[in-house]
Subunit: 590 residues, 2 copies
């Protein structure tokens, strides 16, 4: 919606309506055909398709809500033949109370939903169009003040469906197109159409994962998909357990809970005072959720020991062993090691086998946080980077990251059956009645720390059906190739410095861009201070211009650098080239 | 999809196509019009609408995938005029890889999404049609074996989009219609059209709540909505803090975490060993998530003390005080009291003011679990039941329950600012850079125990816009009236016994149905044993026949009883009547 440039696929303009933009798709063309041969038929559907394109156009060129409303009057598509009795729906006189389950609510409901779908499909089309901006940035105070009549405040009285549709358009207009081919800002990016369809269906089904009773199909899909994931991890026969959770941080939290339950089941009843001082280990490059779990679950952050990494961000096993010994000497009990498979910033893979050896030696739980890197298991070419994962006691794997599944979709896999249930069950009688007519082992709710649980499985299952394992493999390989392309392009390019040497293990490419003014300056506090400001400045300008988005951060003693990641299936080499050009364009005078 | 009876709103059948069901909506009628006057136009859209109705029809009357495929050949809508070049899309030769971002992927993408929407809108229409079954029950092994070709297994190779569409239909067919007017099985029921539209938009935007950077509009909507909720709770000026979490159990977990952080902030760093033995209090009727939180966070379940309730399920304050004193005498530290506003089974409201007095007296954190009852705050008539909630330190309130918002939508509200952030923040440099160009206090991620966080706010915000506060109030009042109707209907009816006396506080109506064979039998072990089996048997028959769904459970020493709840806006008195008739029909010979 935020595009300032015209659509890249423009065809012949529709002659009768000055306010219509040139048709950009088959749908617009059909409407053109409709006008060309008769006005008696298909007007309804044609009308809603055209009207929204036009409204959207008005919205893009500005104009208040009132102006946008009045723009409807000039739409040629609204000249209807009254004989058919299906005049343009006037949403300004319809309200939520007129929709289903209201009496006679079926037609307005269908009308309204189709209008919404039209808004969404237009958004989708433009998201994949590189001439559309990634975002139309505004500061919080600007949005709070209400831009062009977009009023975020809630009121006592209902608004018309017309206004609701405008609100939907505005919400998308001022948002960020995370599916845009040039959105590289997070580990989760892209907009998978099958996944999206799956999510639309999920919301329509609007049910809850806690019992087979009300989610029979989804519960079975979850069970089969988790088994498949465990097979891919390499556990014999795909045996074990698991559950989808609301994100990698919660999945990691599960791993710590289950480890504690395995070694000190009495903590469930008696609390942490029943156990000795327990120590969790994770690398200094690992995700902060291990520390969050340590804090939340009552271990305390100072009992989450950070391990040193090599220059590539991979944990140094010798440091782990030294710290295990140190902890034991202090009388503490080393409980748990998190090995990261694909660190957030460097994309590093910890050496799982060496860590597994230490876990066996010292009788500790091995968790692999593959939230980001787990997807590489789908690629025969890249899965060796997770070698040893089959020795893990638990694995976090977020299909919503590298596999392109819409948010949220994260799995915690546990090798030993029964632990999740044992750890979390409270046997709520109102949900988990033992005297149901079906096999109640299919009720999953007592494995979870949640009660109600959103259906996160369907979109993923549907994508797997639609792509096959081979489709995921191709996607993973392509993303890795693109990051290799970026790495090769900039590693010796003037004005670039790599944050770590050698080809990245994942799609993370970490680099500094040095504006001409900093090139050749020797390393000194002033250079570091100035370089630290470069990435934030370029990022701010990127966001203001809306052309692309990429993340940056400091790490340890390293000043702010860009972290490029590729997980978006829409990205191509041309988008990588664009990013580099854009960084240079925005950064040249800094 | 599982309906065996014809649609209740049938009109004139479409004469040309033997396989088409009678039109049930304006869309079918337009297609009829299309056939009546010209076959040249609107065929595309008409075609997809009709085809799916027909497929759906075939699916309802059985038939394999192949049969369903071949049924397409008889559709009159497919006789297209080749001049328009828009032949029926053959999805059997299209795959996920042909959709966007594929080159020329736009048209198949739009086609595919419209097909999906057609499946969903058909589902929605039927869900509100009382002649449709609530569910088409099958046992796990039946679904796993693959009914009528519905194969849940994942494979290496991709399936065609045709098969994906069939999978979508089958998924809905074998699911449970939680929006059906006769679905009373859970606290969350109904299918709000505005909320649904909001969720479709949310999935299309596919972003993450952790930073303003990538969710500017949603972050502000969350902020404004939480403020509004705090105002309604009664905290001066709506001040305070809060966050949407993945459900009431997690919201309750937050309350315990924040309470601990307020009184013993050193636990974050040093773990539970830094604190004395801390005690949490909650009623024996409260939700099991307080115990889950106690177990997970390291308190231990035996430090979650259950409080006695009166015969209506409301906590007895004197029991709380006695147990506080007892804990203190043992040298433990009473930390936290959970007062339930709307218990899961009885719908009971604990006396918040009396509990608040004790919390003040003993310097304890007061949490109100209004996951289920919080919605009553929207009703001037019923909000007195939560009197005293403004004295709480934290409140759980699930709009996805009584307010009819689609799953998941749960808020944890905290009266004191800064605690959520202090409790959970880990300052991840890669997300929460302090040197961004905007006011980074709008980045919410460090308040959460999650990292990525699903956008749960938009559907709720949009519903609030569309209904207004007044619309929620009307919905709440109507649900309470319906449950009053049920209560009045059965309290003196032959064959019914109320589980507790007096009018329910919430919509929960708890009752035993006594089959004629048990009536008049004196209370004895045999009667109890037989009565215990009645509700499960009736429930199983209900599910087999698919006509309605209602929950049952035992509670304390009470044998299985039905718990009826009303939160579904589609329910009417006739549905209440139906439920009673159905229980009597199914149960008369037990």
């Amino acid at each position: 919606m935020a595009a300032s440039a015209p659509s890249s696929s423009a065809a012949e303009p529709e002659p009768n309506s000055a306010y219509l933009r040139p048709p950009t798709s088959a749908y617009d063309s059909w409407c053109g055909v409709a006008h060309g041969c008769t006005r008696k038929l298909g007007m309804k559907i044609c009308g809603f398709l055209q009207k929204n394109n036009s409204l959207d156009e008005k919205s893009r060129i500005g104009g208040s809500f009132k102006e946008r409303q009045s723009s409807k009057n000039v739409l040629s598509c609204e000249n209807r033949d009254p004989r058919f009795g299906h005049t343009e729906t006037d949403f300004s006189n319809l309200f939520a109370r007129d929709l289903l389950p209201a009496k006679n609510g079926e037609e307005p409901t269908m009308q309204f939903l189709l209008e919404v779908v039209d808004i969404l499909t237009n958004y989708i089309r433009k998201t994949f169009d590189r001439s559309t901006k990634v975002l139309d940035f505004h500061h919080p105070h600007q949005l709070l003040e209400g831009i062009e009549g977009f009023n975020l405040e809630l009121s006592d009285q209902p608004e018309s469906l017309e206004q609701i549709l405008v609100d939907c358009r505005d919400t998308l207009k001022y948002g960020v197109r995370t599916g845009h081919p040039r959105f590289f800002n997070q580990l989760s990016s892209g907009l998978d159409i099958i996944g999206l369809a799956g999510e639309w269906l999920t919301s329509t089904a609007n049910t809850n994962m806690f019992t087979y009773e009300i989610a029979p199909v989804f519960v079975l899909m979850e069970q089969l998909t988790l088994k498949k994931m465990r097979e891919i991890v390499g556990w014999p026969g795909g045996e074990g357990d698991g559950i989808f959770s609301p994100g990698g941080a919660i999945s990691n939290m599960y791993s710590v809970m289950v480890a504690r339950y395995k070694y000190y089941p009495e903590v469930k009843t008696k609390g942490m005072s029943a156990a000795p001082r327990l120590i969790l280990f994770t690398s200094e490059h690992s995700h902060y959720s291990i520390k969050k779990a340590g804090a939340a679950l009552g271990f305390g952050v100072e009992n989450v020991i950070l391990l040193k990494c090599d220059e590539r961000g991979r944990v140094i096993p010798a440091d782990l062993e030294a710290k295990i010994i140190d902890a034991k000497q202090k009388g503490y009990v080393p409980l748990f090691v998190n090995a990261t498979a694909g660190s957030t910033v460097y994309g590093a893979f910890d050496p799982i086998n060496e860590i597994a050896d230490l876990c066996e030696k010292y009788n500790m739980w091995l968790h692999v946080d593959g939230a980001w890197g787990g997807g590489l298991l789908m690629s025969r070419k890249h899965r060796h980077k997770l070698s040893g994962i089959e020795r893990a006691n638990s694995v976090t794997w977020n299909p919503h990251k590298m596999m392109g599944v819409p948010l949220q979709c994260s799995a915690i896999l546990v090798r030993e059956k029964g632990l999740l249930q044992g750890c979390n069950q409270m046997c709520a009688g109102y949900l988990f009645q033992p005297d149901k007519q079906y096999d109640v082992t299919y009720d999953t709710g007592d494995k979870a720390i949640q009660c109600g649980r959103h259906v996160d499985i369907f979109k993923f299952w549907l994508m797997w059906k639609a792509k096959g394992t081979s489709g995921f493999e191709q996607h993973i390989n392509k993303c890795l190739e693109l990051s290799e392309y970026l790495y090769t392009k900039i590693k010796n390019r003037e004005g670039y410095e790599m944050v770590f040497q050698g080809e990245p293990q994942h799609t993370n490419v970490c680099f500094w861009y040095l504006p001409p003014s900093l090139r050749g300056m020797p390393d000194c506090p002033e250079r570091r201070e100035r370089l630290h400001k470069v990435a934030p400045k370029i990022k701010a300008m990127m966001m203001e211009s809306g052309t692309t988005m990429v993340g940056y951060q400091p790490q340890g003693d390293k000043v702010n650098f860009f972290r490029m990641v590729v997980s978006n299936p829409a990205a191509t080499k041309s988008d990588i080239d664009f990013l580099i050009e854009e960084i240079e364009r925005l950064g040249q005078d800094l």
